[in-house]
Assembly symmetry: C2
Homo-oligomer: 258 residues x 2
Amino acid sequence: MPKRPLILVTNDDGITAPGLRTLIGVMREIGDVVVVAPDSPQSAMGHAITINSTLHVEKVKIDDGPQKEYSCSGTPADCVKLAVREVLKRKPDLCVSGINHGSNSSINVIYSGTMSAALEAGIESIPAIGFSLLDYNWGANFEYCTSFVKTIAENVLENGLPDGVVLNVNIPNVEKKAFKGIKICRQARANWEEEFDKRTNPMGREYYWLSGKFVNMDGGKDTDEWALENNYISVVPVQFDLTAHHAIQQLNTWKFSE
Amino acid sequence: MPKRPLILVTNDDGITAPGLRTLIGVMREIGDVVVVAPDSPQSAMGHAITINSTLHVEKVKIDDGPQKEYSCSGTPADCVKLAVREVLKRKPDLCVSGINHGSNSSINVIYSGTMSAALEAGIESIPAIGFSLLDYNWGANFEYCTSFVKTIAENVLENGLPDGVVLNVNIPNVEKKAFKGIKICRQARANWEEEFDKRTNPMGREYYWLSGKFVNMDGGKDTDEWALENNYISVVPVQFDLTAHHAIQQLNTWKFSE
């Protein structure tokens, strides 16, 4: 990479989130940074895009520094689309999303706004990484992981990524000296056993809060869940071709009779 | 299947959508139907779930018939979660989503609320199918495709689906006599070239509407786009393990130096 790369930074926790601020700081060490991030938290937005309402983008100044920052009324996927077409007017050399406050490992990738931004960039053939720290607190300590975030981003800039692949990076919530390193993994087979907390509002109407328990059904030692439990940073190559290629042959034996 | 199967029906266009009404009619021919669908349109919601606000579910009666119907304030994925835990109190034998007003082929699967409901069911190990008709009109003619919808659902009930796989079924917008049949396919590599329509509101503030052009970059004849263009119904087996397994070996050659 002869000149400084152009790096688009976004997230789903919103433009003021400490995790985003940390990521901007790391990316400024390796490139020219433009931030286009949601003006409010967009967690669990999945790969939503805004087609039935209008979108706003405002230039903002939140921290000192050379980065340009834009606040967007849309989802993380909207932010990437608007950044490429309207703000940058070209593809950045790298798109990083995060650092998310909370895990996006295993099945969480499906619900993740952080990863939807990275996937949206990948769909547009931009090398992309989503970063998440396994600590939901707004005051989470991101400093321990910044050197790992930097080396992963540098590797992507240097080596590129296979077509149609982005990285889902999750960081265990441990002290730096406990980190065992970086591990390339597959997504664990896990799900959420939902529980709905049923309540009655002051007007007598029933409502629910979604809650649940995470259940890892996967005993493999090559999964992101195993890596994180064992103090490794997990790196899962993620694709947006959802075809279950292994199932095609079996489905071709079916008889379809009207 | 000795007794009548229990079939959960949902969608993303909302509980009054004609496509959902058609799907209810077809499913009533083969099983006992419970509907839990959004109370308003949720298109392009991706795999969003509602974690920061409350959820409401109301028993409603929209059409005559033996089916039970519930309207839900949440996203399509919320509907499936609430249906299984709170409405049915057990897993249905089949979950069908749709019939969507508009395509969910190729990359649209990523943005699709219809498919997110099917994927959510799949995550909970419920056999699931998303159906979509390539006609965005509210008054689209769904009658031509009902026999195909029925035979696909019957096949899933009889044969089951591989673990972690759901079906993405798209139906070309042609007259019944033009249908060439059903084709098992892979997801085409395609994307949307976004264009943002920039306007100024009456208060002088700039805003955008998202629009764009669909671009199929995939010349394969085994894709859903090819099938649809050639008047076949496309059936893509879709998985929620997003791991790009083919990329793991390459990533393992990277050097991570802090």
